[in-house]
Every structure is written in C-alpha cells, then in structure tokens.
C-alpha cells in the first residue's frame, strides 16, 4: 500500500541478544563489558531495594504507613533498567517503582513519606531525572513520549524510559502514546513490567494477544524477555537506549516477571490466585538466580554477600528511624504551597484564612 509509510526502520539490535524464549544468549551475557565491581553492584542494589520493600511492608503493618505496594520479585527490572541508562535519561514510572527511585539515589525514608500521607511527591524530579509517580494507570506513558519528543526537538542525545505494567496496556493512553512514539520517532524505551496480575485480574483476562508484538503495529520493534534476569534486562534496555540515542526511535520491551506480593498492603491475593503459581515463580527468584550465577563466576563469596546483607540491615534501620522522625510540613504549606507558581488572589486569601484559623489551636 503506497500510502502507508514505515516510519521506523526494522533494524533491531536487541533481538539478536536473546533466544526465541527471551533468554539472554551466553555470548551476549559475556559480552556486556561489565567489570566485576559493576556486576556486584547490580546484586547489591537488588538486595538493598528488596530489603527496603520488606521494611516498608513492616512499617505499614506497624501503622507507620497508610499503604505499601510491594515490588517483590521485580527487582531485576528495577535495577537492570536503571543501570542501563545514563543518569540524565529521564524515567517516567507508575506507582510501583520505588526500587527504581532508590537506584536513582532517592532517599528511601524520604520516599516513604508518600505512603505516610505527608507528600504527593517527596523528591525533586529534576534532581534524579525521575518523574513523580503516576497513579492513574498508563497516564505517564504520554508524558514519557512527550518528554522524548522534546529531547529530539532540542537535538539532545538523552533518551527516556517510560515504564508500566501489563494492565496499563489495556488503556487508551498507552495505545495513543505508542502511536505518538512511532509517528514522531521519539527516543523512548517503553518498558512493560508484565507481572501477570493487575490487582486480581490475570494476564489472560487482561489481553488476548502478545504485548511485545503490538510494537510493529505502531511502527517500531518490540521483544518479550525474561524480566527476572537482571543482565537480560540490562542488555535489552541498553541496546534499545543506544538505538534511540542514534535517532532510530522507540522500542518496546516486555519484561516477564511476577508480582510475588499483594497488589498493595490492602489486598489479599489468596482470594484469587493459587499458591502453586507463587511457588513456581519463587524458583525463578531474580536475586537467588543472580547470586548463584555470580558465585559460579567467582565474583561473590560468602563474606561479600554477608557484607551486602549487613549494609541492607543498616539501611533498613535508618529507614525506620528517619521515617519516624520525618517532620510534617505546616498544613498551609502542605495543602496550598505548591499548587500554583503564580497563585491567584482568591486562592491566596483562602490559604490565609485557613492559616489564621489554625493559629491558637
């Protein structure tokens, strides 16, 4: 059909790195160019963010947090994807990406003030190139694409990562953003964390087709990979990022993983999923797998692993202490302080009345 233009080329530097099943090929694994320290660093980060996840759940159970959404089991994606990007490449997360935020340097205690009900956005996104969490599902994907379009307009060579779950791919914003990404050839990596569950709805009821294979319909390549292999995620995101940086446009990565915990601390997954499924995925645990691989390579002895565990305990203790010590902003500032850069007079009057009403209480 002459009126259909293939906007984005079919070149795909990611696919050759993987088997048909989405496993990183042995030669690709050995050819990543990561030294021993970098390989250990990936392990350390996965252990730290898992410990933070556990600590946050404990804090929720102790009444210190209103809610917590575990990313247990998805650590390889969080760590591998962030490590594959430049620190200046923006990331647009959904609401389960606190592990990614930590990998970008966001203070875990500060980050938890979101769940403690103290702030809608505890970090400065510009400082970490890490956008605020987006709670309405899939709504962050158009932001990622728009930001990437801006990068291209400026002639900069940074790329953008937009990440979302399998449920998000049902939403209109996701499809619209995929379409814009293709049409404008935006330098964006669209990373689906397919954890098989959108609260209680399993993947089979979410979609009747392959998520990765939708990409060609929007004019760019996509691939389904093992999302519990940190090096596989790293390799895929890095190759897709290099491709985008060259000006070859967007790439969709569907990283298969499993939500080992509940949707959030308010959820009870025993009502809708089988224990046997959980057991099967436990055997593919991303940290245990990577630890075993590192040990096989002679890159992680018991003492080094124990030191990392100790570091994680120290971090958890600091999270507890620092979260409990978090000082709430004054109410006037918390409610009104950041709404407008140029607040209208009636808005300011309402704030002043409110603040005056607090005096003497």
């Amino acid at each position: 059909m002459a009126d259909v233009v293939q906007v984005v080329g079919t070149d795909d530097p990611v696919r050759p790195l993987f088997s048909e099943a989405g496993e990183l090929r042995a030669d690709a694994r050995s050819g990543l160019g990561l030294d021993a320290a970098a390989l250990r660093d990936l392990y350390q980060k996965m252990v730290l963010i898992r410990r933070a996840d556990k600590e946050a759940l404990n804090l929720q159970r102790q009444g210190e947090l209103g809610l917590w959404g575990q990313y247990l089991g998805q650590e390889a994606i969080h760590v591998g994807a962030v490590a594959a990007l430049e620190p200046t490449d923006w990331i647009f997360p959904s609401y389960r990406e606190f592990g990614m935020a930590m990998c970008r340097g966001v203070d875990p205690a500060e980050m938890l003030t979101w769940f403690r009900g103290l702030s809608h956005g505890p970090w400065d996104p510009r400082k970490y190139a890490f956008a605020p969490l987006a709670v309405p599902v899939a709504t962050q994907v158009p932001h990622a694409v728009g930001f990437a379009m801006g990068s291209k307009l400026r002639g900069d060579d940074d790329v953008v990562l937009g990440t979302f779950g399998d449920g998000a791919t049902s939403k209109g914003d996701w499809h619209e953003a995929m379409n814009f990404a293709g049409v404008f050839r935006a330098p964006v990596i669209l990373l689906c964390q397919n954890n098989h569950w959108a609260i209680s709805v399993p993947l089979a009821k979410q979609t009747a087709g392959s998520i990765a294979e939708r990409a060609p319909g929007y004019g760019f390549p996509g691939i389904r990979i093992d999302g519990n292999d940190v090096l596989g995620v790293f390799a895929a995101v890095r190759a897709a990022a290099e491709r985008a940086r060259r000006g070859d446009g967007p790439y969709l990565i569907e990283a298969m993983t499993y939500r080992m915990g509940a949707h959030t601390s308010s959820d009870d997954p025993t009502r809708y999923r089988l224990d046997s499924e959980l057991q099967a995925w436990s055997a593919k645990d991303p940290i245990a797998r990577y630890q075993s691989w590192l040990q096989g390579q002679g890159l992680l002895d018991e003492a080094a692993a124990a030191a990392i565990d100790g570091e994680a305990e120290t971090m958890a203790e600091q999270m507890r202490t620092r979260l409990r010590a978090a000082v709430p902003a004054p109410a006037g500032e918390a409610i009104f302080g950041r709404v407008y850069e140029r607040p209208p007079d009636p808005f300011t009057e309402e704030r002043e009345e409110f603040e005056a009403s607090l005096e003497g209480t």
Partner: protein
Amino acid sequence: MEPVTMARALNLSLRDALAGDEQVLVFGEDVGTLGGVFRITDGLQKTFGADRVFDTPLAESTIVGIAVGLALRGFRPVPEIQFDGFVYSAFDQIVSHVAKYRNRSGISLPITIRIPFGGHIGAVEHHSESPEAYFTHTAGLKVVAPATPGDAYGLLRSAIADPDPVIFFEPKARYYMKEEINPELEVPIGSARVAREGSGATIIAYGPTVSLALDAAGAAEKENISLEVIDLRSLSPLDMPTILTSLQKTHRAVVVHEAPVFGGFGGEIAARISDDGFDLLEAPVARVGGMDAPYPPSRYEKLYLPDVDRILEAVDIALAYG
C-alpha cells in the same frame, strides 16, 4: 491598525508568542498544514516551521499528555483541542496531571490548552458544548474566555506567558466579530471588565454571551432601563471585586452563560455574591443559560440558548423586587 476578526487576533497572538519565545510550541489536530479547522493557526507552520507548529495524531488525551512531557522538558506548549465536545477524552490528563503536577513535583507546567466552545453555529452534536464548569471546579487550573478580538489577543498572550496551566475557551460563534485591537494592551488573567456602564441591574457574562448581554442592554435602554454589563474574561480566578463594585450601584445581578444552569458556573457566581454581597442585593441573583438537557439538534439551539428576551425577562423579575 485595521479592524481584525477574533480569529485573526488569536492568530496574531499565537504568532507573536511564537516569535517572542522560542520555547512556545503549537500543536494539535490539523493545526499545521491546514491551519486549523477554524484557521486560527493559519500560516504559523509556514513561518515557524514544522518543529514548532505541528499536526498530531487524532488523540486528545495524548495531545495533552505530550504537552505535560514537553513542559517538563522546558517548552511552553499550546495544544489545541479541535472542538469543546472532544476535550472529554483529555479530561483525565488535564484534571489528574496538568492541574496537579506542580502540586506533586514543584515543577510548573506552562501549558495553554485552547478550546473553541459554545453554540450558535448550527453544528452537529458534540460541536457546541460549554464544558467550562468541569475545569473551574479543578484547582491548579486557570480558566479564561475572551469575548472580543482585543481581549482574545491580550488574554492569550497572558495565558501563554503564565507559568501555570490555563484552559483558554474561545467563543467560536464570535470568531468573525471585528474590531481594532491594541497589541500593547495587557489583559491580565483574573481581571473582569465593565463592558457597558449602567445603573439598574448588572448582567454578568463571559465568552459568547457578552455580546448577547450588550444587545439586551441596548434593547433595555429603549425602555429606559439602564443595564451594566460585566465581561468576566477570567472564570478562575474570578474577579469578585469588579462584580461587587457594580452591585453597590445596581443591587441586582443576572448571570448569563450558554452552559446548562444546573451545576453551571453561574451557580458559583450567585453563591459568591450571596456570601460576599448579601447586603447589597435587592433581588435574588438570576441565572439565564442553557437548559438541563443535552445540547439539542441545531435547529433547536436558538430556543435552548439564552437570548435577549430571556435576559430581559430575568431583568424585569429582578427589577420588580423591592
């Protein structure tokens, strides 16, 4: 300067904004090559290039969504929603993100969303809506609607220059209204204007109903009734001082908009007057607007929309008090 239409004034305003600040981007459906279905963006792509004035795929939610991303990147996006009735698919992006992004991030989003609105153009369904109250109800947005070519020029300059997001409603039935404009004249957001001075009652209008209110005031004058007309220009923030100053003189208020009266913006104006100016009133605040029914087929729109007779009827009732 020769008199210009409101459509031309908006075009000049966009042109001057694009020329004055290279971060300004104009995009939406058909705004590039075609120059927009109402030609508001006519010739802009030719002058400023396809990087700064561009057509997008047909998807309102992501037109607004990319505006968020582009604003985070440091641009000043001016997306166009082609018709009032199509903004609903962008509602989530506007209400959940455009309005609230600064509150959660500290980063301002200087986005101006242009929306032609209102009826009286004989259109098919979804092309004549007045959705302003959905947006005035959302903190974090500023909502404006000019009624004249001069204000259209100046208010759009102010909206684009504003660091906060602005919903800019254009009264499409007035696109071809002509007047001389003064581009030097600043029209700040949040400031109403007295469109006609009078003493008997105050008609409060915005966008397409301002010229209707002026017609009503002209007709009333023949019966020796003096009506003041306030053109709000800005719905959020609302310029209450101008309204209350007028009521100190007239003591009677009639609010006119095309949107249905029930739950409409006129209710907010009436309530504010009751809160802040109860002692000034000699009569209840009257509201004249569309009916609490979906916008009708166009053959019926003249009956559905407020007209001079309905305004004067409300004025008569207000004047009969006290």
